[in-house]
Amino acid sequence: MSAPQSTAQPSHAARAIARMYPASLRGAHGDEIACFVDELRGDTRFASGIVGRARLLVHLAGDLFASRMPAPRRTRSPLGDPPRRERRLETFLQDARLALRAMARRPAFTCVAVITLMLGIGANTAIFSVVSAVLLRPLPFPHADRLAVLWATNSTNRQLLASIDDVNDWRARTRTFADIGMVRTQSVNLTGAGAPDRLVGSFVTANSLTLLGARAALGRLFTTAETEKGTGQTVAIVSYDAWRTRFGADRAILGRTLVLNGRPHVVIGVTDSAFADPFNAQVWLPITSAPNPNWFQRGNASVWAVGRVRDGVTMDRAQQDLSAVAAQLSREYPATNAGSGALVIPLRDWLVGTVRPTLVIVLAFVGVVLLIACANVANLQLARATGRRREMSLRAALGAGRSRLVRQLLTENLVLSVLGGAAGVLFARWAIGVLVNAVPGGLPTFGDVGIDGGVLLFSAALTVGAGLLFGIAPALHASRARLTDALTLRTGEAGHGRRLDPRQAFAALQLALCIVLLAGAALLDRSLGALREVNVGFDPHDVLTAEFRLPAAKYRSDTAITEFMQRAIGAIRAIPGVQSAALVNAVPLSGNFGLNAYLPEGAPATDPAQEPTAQVNGVTDQFFRTMRIPIIAGRDFDGRDRADAAPVVVVDQELARRAWPNQSAIGKQVTVRFTPVVTATVIGVVGSVKQLTVGEPASPQIYVPIAQQPGIFNSVVARTSRDPMLLAGALRSAIWSIDPDQPVWKARSLDSLVERDMAGPRFAVVLTAAFALLALTLAVVGVYGVMSFTVAQRTHEVGIRMALGARRSDVTRMVLVQGGRVVAVALAFGLVGALGAGRLIRNQLFGVSAADPVALVGVTLGLGLVALAACYLPARRAARVDPVIALRAE
């Protein structure tokens, strides 16, 4: 050591540092401490370079920390013991210090344990932050827990739009609702402001916006008069986002006239930026601006209702009330309402209903991953604990009580898990970003997904829970120390008895949990595979689709609409690269569909409400050819099927099978409940297609010629000879060549619609598989560690065996048998767990049984082999033991 600095006055730094010590020390020794610090600074260990300075800082920090700790008391104070709580804290801090030191001495162990916990706690924190944002965080609407979406129902369908008259009656007659408003979203054409464009419109009553808590940032919202009868001036409100992105945040938008659906609307307001519309509208119009006057007929399903139940009323009570009113209406208006009811769905359920099961499954998955991580760390601790048994025995012999030892060990675990938890939260911050961007179609959240107070609290609870979970067994195990252990312990005691010792039990537990996860992921993957195998009923490759809606104000007559359609389809078919094209009301898997009741020839006439429903779709000729939907019998539509010709339909084989089993459907009559009702002749039978989702069961489908049921909303399907998206521009131009004001939107390939339908299940598979692989890695590392440790403990025994003539293969077999017992126990428990888990997720499975033998047996065998391989390496090492070396240690 160098000569101490010899200065009469301490340096500023030394004085500053001395001031940080507790007052009791400073008072008596302040100068001495400053002098001491100065001498330290001159010390060779600390004086040189950055490393020396860093070392000094660490030294000083440690000393400062230590000097603030209560002094260890070796004797009882004559003034009596300090209060119990204070003493506990004192012990805890002392233990924490010991733990930090012990961890620093074993960096490899600490790193492995902290990384394991980081992955476990981090994955849970990330998934929980999503769960918290989607399922737990309050929705940004006033009294959000009392808001509900109300649907009409009939005997076959649970969620139908309701008629405006019905909703008005619901509002007037129910007692449990404070208010009920109407909403109907629909694309709206915006013209006269540059290129024709499409906005997501929402036709509403004034009270809907107030129910949802909308406020105007500019101008005002609708008055009741404006949305009930209309005040002569048609008005519109623009959303904050649309105002910024489409209208350049121009404050002069108030009073400006927008041509929406061909009719002028005066902008009276812009909503507040904080208003998050659950229906994602960009522009609101009064329901009186409905694009179709038949919306206002009773029996015409045209709107959703949004209701707020009165304070203190449960959703169940509201449901009973609404059902009673719906029953009254069906008695009063049998022609339109017979058999119809009403359904109350809480707003949150409506928003997150489809995501909830997936999230719950994924949360359960990461929960199990954390359990495996805990088991892993517990095993590391157990291995250490065995090594420390001597230390514990001596401490016990010197007077430490068992509870004191357990407390010390638990504190060590807690410190370890706090480090893991902190690293986990950092890991989660990164993972959340990746996760949120990867969710197909985005998450139904309002506001950001992130780590907030609730999530932190969750992580803290996890951390403490994990610390106790993986700590309690090793602590009890290690503290079961008796003095005799210290004197008699030999190292060959590690479990080769009949029962599994704690380490082996933990390894088995890890493997078993791992099987549960792998089986769950395998089931979901097989389910996705089954979904991919589904015949959607059409050939989605090389087909371009796009949507458009004619403004009713401009195309007032069916003739005008039909003429536009004919010219448009002619122009589209003329595009080079288009092999065939057709118009259709609702492209399969696009989210659009139409449902109507029907009555086939030969079936007894019943109450219209009891009639079966079919998906009804208007198409032009060449639709089946373009989609490659097979025509099984009869013919496609053609030029004969004009508006003034006899009504005809094409049905799918499912309808033909149900309506006329073992008979030809061609020439049969079917009555479709359009307004007005149409009775048509079946001219063809085609294959069934998946209209709403790939996983739906086959349902009756009816195709009508667009010429006989013209409508303003249509889509294009065009089969192309090259990448369909390359023709999207040409398709728009073709339609604009007929009407330059006609917006065209959602130009997409049919392939992308099929893919989109499977995106959710695929994402679930990717997530669960990722977590299952993480679990597999942890479990295999765990088993390998345990077997290695066991082998190391049995070295002495192996040496004796080999000295007595055992062959290497005998030794390998001995260790493998021991590992095999662990694996066998794990497989048995894992299989039972996997069967249970399969039952829990069976609602998410498609075309695969929850006890699918391929998934279960495959996973079990695969994991068994991997686990045995993890045992084999230590077994081989055991066989290489040199008896001389093994015995020399004795």
């Binding site: 001491f36 230590a66 000097s67």
Partner: protein, 102 residues
């Protein structure tokens, strides 16, 4: 106390001596050191020395030495430990038959 057995020392010297004797296993910072000294002084086992400073010495330094009571306490503590060690030796508690990694 052991370090003060062969004469009085100032704080920094005590720390250096402890470091040297334990081959770096125990490194006392000023807070730990003066905290300990404070308790030892309070128990009348150690006392500040009032001997004059050596020439050229830092005037802030204070020297500490064992009291008579400290010296006898130290001796009985060493005797007690010696007994423990000899018992442990006889019972082979300190033997480590464990082989290193295979």
């Amino acid at each position: 106390m052991l370090v003060l057995a062969d004469g009085e020392r100032h704080g920094y010297a005590i720390a250096r001596e402890i470091d040297a004797v334990t081959k770096g296993a125990v490194r006392m910072g000023s807070g730990t050191l003066y905290g300990t000294l404070q308790r030892l002084v309070a128990a009348a086992l150690v006392e500040p020395s009032h001997a004059a400073h050596r020439s050229g010495d830092d005037p802030r330094r204070r020297y500490y030495r064992l009291t008579a009571r400290g010296r006898s306490t130290l001796k009985s503590e060493i005797d007690r430990l010696a007994t423990v060690v000899s018992v442990a030796r006889r019972r082979h508690v300190l033997d480590t038959p464990r082989p290193e990694a295979v």
